[in-house]
Amino acid sequence: MGKIEDLQVINGEGYQLSSLEKVVASARANSVWPLPFATSCCGIEYMATMGSNYDLARFGMERMSFSPRQADLLIVAGTISKKLAPVLKQVYEQMAEPKWVLSVGACASSGGIFDTYSVLQGIDRVIPVDVYVPGCPPRPEQIIDGIMKIHEMVKHESLRRRYSDEYKSLLNSYNIENNEE
C-alpha cells in the first residue's frame, strides 16, 4: 500500500449524503421480519431454509414474528383451504403498513395439484400478493430467490406507497379496509 497523494485529512467525524428514501429502504430491506404462515409441506422446506444450511439469518430475517402487528412480510407456505381463507385475510389485515406478501409453493400460488372442492385456488383470491415462488415444494434456493426479489421491491418502494391511489384501489378490490385513511 503506497501513499495516496492529495489526501485531505478532515478533522471531525465526517458525514454522508443520501436521500431519506434510500436510507429507509436499505434499513427496511435488511431487516425484514417475516411472519411464516406455514400450513403444510412447503412449511417444512421453509424450516429447512431457516436452518443453518440455507441460512435466512444472513438476510436479517432470523427473528420470526408470529404476531402480525410486528411483521413486515407474510410468507404463505402451503395449501390454503377455503376454511382457512378468512383467517388468512384477517392476519393480513392485522399487519401494519408497510407489508408485503410472498406466496411460496404451487398450492399457495394457484391451488397446486389440488383442484378440489375444498382448496382455495390461489391466495391472490383473498389478499394481494407481491412475489410468487412456484414449486412443489420449492427448493430452499428458490425460496431465497423469492426473498431476494422481495428485497428488491422493498428497496425501490416509495415511502408514500400506502397513500397512493393505486394501492388504495388494489386493497379496495379485495374488500380490505385500508387503515391508513
Binding site: C41, A48, S52, N53, K83, I113, Y117, R139
Partner: protein, 410 residues
Amino acid sequence: MSNWMEEKLHDSGFVEKSSETIDGDIATLNLGPTHPATHGIFQNVLKVDGEKILSSEQTVGYIHRAFEKLAERRPYNQITPITDRLNYCSSPINNMGWEMTVEKLIGAEIPKRVEYMRVIIMELARIADHLVCNSVIGVDTGALTGFTYVFQEREKIYELYEEVCGARLTTNIGRIGGFERDFSPTFYKKLDNFLKTFPKVFNEFDSLLSRNRIFMDRTIGAGPISAQRALDYSFVGPNLRAAGVDYDVRVMNPYSSYEDFDFIVPVGTQGDTYDRFQVRQEEIRQSLRIIEQAYKNLPEGSYKADIPEFYLPPKEEVYNNMEALIYHFKIVMGETPIPAGEVYHSVEGGNGELGYYLISDGGRSPYRLQFRRPCFIYYQAYPEMITGQNISDAVLTLSSMNVIAGELDA
C-alpha cells in the same frame, strides 16, 4: 409498602375491584389456528382458570385437500404423489405403503433386493420424521440449538433421497414393482458417510436434552395418558408405545422382509411427553441398526419386479419390441389390468399404523381408497391429555404427539 401507598390504593378502590374480577373467572383462550407453537394449522379453544386448563375443543380441517376424492380420479401410479403429502416429514414411507398395497392387490412377487432397498429408505424416513419431532419438542421448551443441529443432519438424508429419486421432501419414490433405478455408487458413498457421522451428532443432540434437568422437569408428567385409554382411542405408533403397549406393525404383520432384521421396540411407562421423546430417540437408534443390517446384507438381484403390465419397460425395448410398446402405452394411459377386489395393507409410519383400504372395481382408478391416518385418530385424545395441566404443558404435549397437519386432514 408504606401506609401512605396502601391508603391511596384502598381509596381508589383498585384492590377490591381487581380482586373481584380476577377470582373465580373462567377465561376462554384461543390457541390457533395460526399460532407459533402449534406446528400445523388446527384450532384449540381452551377454557382456562388462571393457567389450569378445564376443558378444550378442537377444530380441524383447515388443510382438507380431499385426497380420497382425488384418488378416485387418478390411475394407480399417479396416486403416489398424493400419498407423499400425507405425513410429509417421512414421505417415502407413505409412498412405499401405497406401492405395497397395489402389489398386494395384483399379487406381484417382489425380489428380495427391492425389499431390502425399501427398508433402507423407509428407515431413513423414520429417522427424519423423529428428528423433526424431537427437535421441535426442544424448541417448545426453549432449546433452539438442537433444532439447528438436527436440521443439518436432515439435509444429509435429503441428499440421499435426491440420489434415488431427485426430490427432497415430497419424494414420489419407487414404482409399483420396485424402484425406477438401482442405487448409484454415490448413494453408497453418501450412506457410508451418513452412517459414520450421524451417530456422533445424534449423541450430541441427545446429550443436550435427555438428561437435562430443566428439560426433564418440564416434560415429565406433561400430557400423560394411560395404556387403557390409549387403546380405547386407537392410538398407534410411538404415542402408544410410550404409554406401555408394544404394538409395532413391523413386528406383528411384517412386510417387506422386516422379519429378517434384528431390532427392539422401545416402550415407555407413563405415556407423558418425556416418554414419547425417549421412545422416539431410541427408535432412531434402532432404525440406524436396521439400516446397517440391510446395507451389509443387501442381496444381489433386480431392482424391480417382473410385472411388465404395471412397470414401464426400458426405453430400448419400447422402441424395438411391439409388446413393450403396447405395455408402455397402456401404463401411461392408465389402462392397466388391475383386478377387482378389496385389500387393506398397513405400514409402520412415523406416527404409527398407516393403513390403506383399497377397493378396486377393475377400472383405471380406485373405486374407493381410504387412508387410515394415525394423526387424525389419536388427536381426539388431546383434550383428555391436557385437562388439569398448564397452558405451557398443553403446548408441549401437542408438539410431542407429532401431529402433522397433512395427515390430520388429508
